[in-house]
């Protein structure tokens, strides 16, 4: 068996130098387990790691709780809220209705309808849609509904299915299945 100190000396990335005479004679040598080499560097790392962890957790909690457990409302739910929903910041999720997309690239003006089985809501966006955006695909839009019943969105997201198919391969999961997964809420 190789002696451990021989091995350690060959490791360029081992930060702590192997026992020097000074170290051995230093007061820490009496408490070898408390007197870790490179203590100062280690402490700084731990402090930074803790701050990062605490900041990330706060960010997660604040960011995550602000929105409640329901990630988005369906068109039916938003319609059912009636006037209460006007002006409130919500996410709306549903399918892009057939023949409803009007896209004017010169003004980056996008209008379409989001629907589920019960309702349909007109959505106006002023951004370039993601490439996957098309009729019949799932979308989630962030914004608010006005008193005119038009949902103004600042953020348009596409929600695709769990299908990964090659061209020419039959697509087996139909849009009904997809709208079902859009409307289910764990029940």
């Amino acid at each position: 068996m190789t002696r451990p100190d021989e091995q350690a000396e060959t490791l360029p990335w081992a930060g702590a130098p192997v026992a020097s005479q000074e170290q051995f004679l230093s007061p820490e040598a009496d408490h070898p387990n408390q007197g870790k080499p490179a203590q100062g560097k280690g402490k700084l790392f731990v402090a930074v790691a803790l701050i990062v962890a605490a900041a990330s957790l706060t960010w997660l909690v604040v960011g995550g709780v602000e929105q409640n457990l329901v990630y988005y409302l369906t068109p039916s739910e938003l319609t059912a809220k009636g006037d209460d929903a006007i002006g409130a910041n919500v996410r709306l999720g549903g399918m892009v209705a057939k023949d409803s997309i009007r896209w004017r690239p010169e003004e980056t003006e996008l209008k379409f309808k989001v629907k589920d089985h019960g309702a349909e809501i007109e959505v106006h966006a002023s951004s370039i849609p993601p490439e996957m955006f098309r009729e019949g695909i799932g979308v989630i839009v962030e914004g608010s509904i006005g008193s005119d019943g038009i949902f103004q969105t600042r953020r348009l997201m596409v929600r695709h299915s769990n299908e990964y198919k090659a061209p020419g391969d039959q697509e087996t999961v139909d849009l009904d299945y997809m709208s079902q997964t859009l409307e289910d809420n764990g029940t």
Partner: protein
């Protein structure tokens, strides 16, 4: 002194070869996906990364329970190695997901349940490694690492099942062989096995390094000292 050949390198080499083949298939052989186009090819890395991140952290969980019972430094080293690989894979997972989400969903990040729980997973297991660095001695280090791993592991099944429990999110539900073209199965499976082999290889390498560091620390503390069964420094058979 001639260095001995560590046998785990065989696993690593097989893993690299399989990954090379899987990626070559995924990038140059199989046709681009419907609707996704070329960007969809990140699927061949993202899905294997996800599977293996959860699988390797499950391995960490088992090692943590074992380490609490047998208190062996070698189990502590293997546990820590596997948590490090788990953190690496989870970090890759979140980054790949974000890169794929930009052209596909249209956003880099959103507060979707799957995305949140995956981010928590990354932070929790990074926290395990951080907790470990606080410990004063080997025995304590083993206990803290093992207990923190078991606590952090709670999030693993949550990450997996959240798309079922809270299907209202932007992330897709689980994909099955039936929802993926058979053209894609081979490359996907090669990459999945390759990532697993590479994960095992890296775990071994890290475990070996941790054991060497333990030995080096013990030597610097007291030349000629050895570690007892619980990893505490022993000088002439007397526990410090």
């Amino acid at each position: 002194m001639k260095r001995a050949f560590d046998k785990e390198h065989i696993i690593g080499v097989i893993g690299l070869l399989m990954l090379a083949y899987g990626c070559w298939k995924a990038l140059f052989v199989v046709p681009a996906m419907n609707h996704f186009g070329e960007v969809g090819r990140i699927f061949f890395m993202h899905v294997p990364t996800a599977w293996n991140a959860l699988l390797i952290l499950t391995g960490s969980f088992i090692l943590a329970i074992g380490a609490l019972f047998n208190r062996k430094p070698s189990w502590d080293a293997a546990l820590t190695g596997s948590v490090e690989v788990g953190v690496l894979y989870t970090a890759l997972l979140v980054v790949q997901g974000s890169i794929w989400a930009r052209p596909t969903f249209g956003i880099w990040w959103t507060w979707d349940p799957r995305l949140i729980t995956a981010a928590i997973l990354l932070i929790a297991f990074a926290g395990v490694l951080s907790a470990r660095s606080f410990a004063n001695n080997q025995g304590q280090r083993l206990r803290w690492t093992a207990v923190a791993t078991i606590v952090a592991y709670i999030d693993v099944p949550i990450v997996y099942f959240i798309v079922k429990w809270l299907p209202r999110g932007i992330h897709q539900p689980h994909s099955f062989p039936s929802t993926v073209s058979t053209d894609y199965h081979l490359a996907l499976r090669f990459n999945a096995i390759a990532m697993l082999l590479l994960g095992i290889w890296m775990t071994f390498r890290r475990a070996r390094w941790i054991l060497q560091q333990n030995a080096a620390t013990a030597m610097s503390a007291a030349p000629g000292a050895a570690l007892d069964a619980e990893g505490r420094t022993m000088v002439a058979g007397v526990e410090e």
